[in-house]
Amino acid sequence: MKSISWRFLQVWQRNFIVYRRTWLVSFLPPLLEPLFYLLAFGVGMSVLIGSLHYEGTPVSYAKFIAPALIAINIMSNAFYENTYASFVRMYYQKTFDAMMATPLTVGEIIAGEIVWGATKAVFATAIMMTVISFFGLIRYPDGLLLIPLAFLGGLAFGAMGMLFTAVVPHIELFNLPIFLFITPMFLFGGTFFPLENLPIWARQFALVLPLTHLVNLCRAFSYGAYGGSLFVMSFFYLAGLTLILFPLAIHKMHRRLIK
């Protein structure tokens, strides 16, 4: 880790330059996705569901899923950036090889990539929050904490993606973690229904999933309600996960790139 200096920002900057060239494409999904989901689930499904109880308080279904949409958005932005996009840069475009011939170290290249993935999650979150705010589903100023939360969640899921990138032999294999890991989290991470509805073993399983904790924190900041004991645990879970996965991803990437 001692080989990482602030030079990683040069790698971040490279990705930011590319992002600015294609900003419209990057802006559309976080703009439209919450609209689609809120329309389909918030309006369509809420007729069936009405309102439900979250930690003892009644909430409308739209209000229940809105923070989950933000959490899912953070996860997928960072995870996809540091899997498919990073893999393309590393494997097909040889961008990392070119960087490694400069004073940049592998640690700085990978740190720059993961921090970039987290930044992309922040951008997408800000756009999404704007849309969701029009529906009055975020309480301010507490809701502004979703921005730094997006960065933390982005680091956790980005480092996780980068770890897969360091070990997969070819790009098709990303289907595996997505099918076995991302999709189950999307469905069972306390996203579209309260975990209280599940049997106890399923609830405990959900607590192992990182997205569950990100969803918890997103709800806490969106509602301005920090009562649950889960709040502290979720924060330490995500921070701890980042502290483990970030250096691990760099270590594995080192092994892959330096031969």
């Binding site: 490279r14 060239r21 040889k94 400069t102 004073p103």
Partner: protein, 306 residues
Amino acid sequence: MESTQSAIEARELTKTFGALTAVSSISFDVRRGECFGILGPNGAGKTSTIRMVYGLSPRSGGTLRVFGRDIADHPRSIKAEIGVCPQENNLDPDITVIQNLEVYARYFYIPGTIARQRALALLAFMSLEHRRDAKVTDLSGGMMRRLIIARALINEPELLILDEPTTGLDPQSRHQVWERLNELRNDGMTMLLTTHYMDEAARLCDRLIIMDQGKILVEGKPADLIREYVGRHVIEVSEPGEELRNHVRTARLSYEDLGHLLIIYGHDHDQLYHEISSRYCRGGCILRMATLEDVFLKLTGRGLRE
């Protein structure tokens, strides 16, 4: 300036990948201001050697000093003084031609205004200024190569490393690249070059080594190597007869018999050529200058390397 005369000093340098020994205890020096070539068939260990020099690949044994410092201890400061033109095209396809130079300059911590000045000067030097805002993927192979060389120069390196700089280029592009590299050499740039084009090596290199199977076979100036290992001239006789074969054997000439072609090496062959062409020539008979390619094939053999 460093006190040492050598830009690169390798002693018993070794690289192994598991059970495979790619580079086996080689020693060489590259002096400041010279163009030093590493030649060899595929798999000889050329690329493994230069990847160690520019710090991309840790050595397995021996010592390696670049500008008098150990690359393992000072990778960052040494890389800051090296420009690398890799074998594979690794230009950044997501950004424009000039951005490729400017963004690369950032990796060296070169301030933006200086980076822009240098980028524009390098685009002009490489005759690419008309494509400065083009996408990299729209460039021809020759243009991409020139852009890679321009990128390798963005940090004003002391040492330029070129891994097969003209592989896959058409003759016009190759000559253009050679011209630029010659200009750089004349300006005192130290260059380390790998190639399997012998004409390229003969044209650009002050000194070279020929490697095979991880070892150095010979080292020297191109002209000296030709004189020492082949001679001045080469006679090629197609469809040689038994009489000629007997003659070269009894006269103890240096030759190579390829079946349909007999190649005779020697120092002063004017007379010999007349003798052979008048007495033994049935098919074609050619007298030509000896080249580096003769040295290369004589030393590394004619078997295919795959």
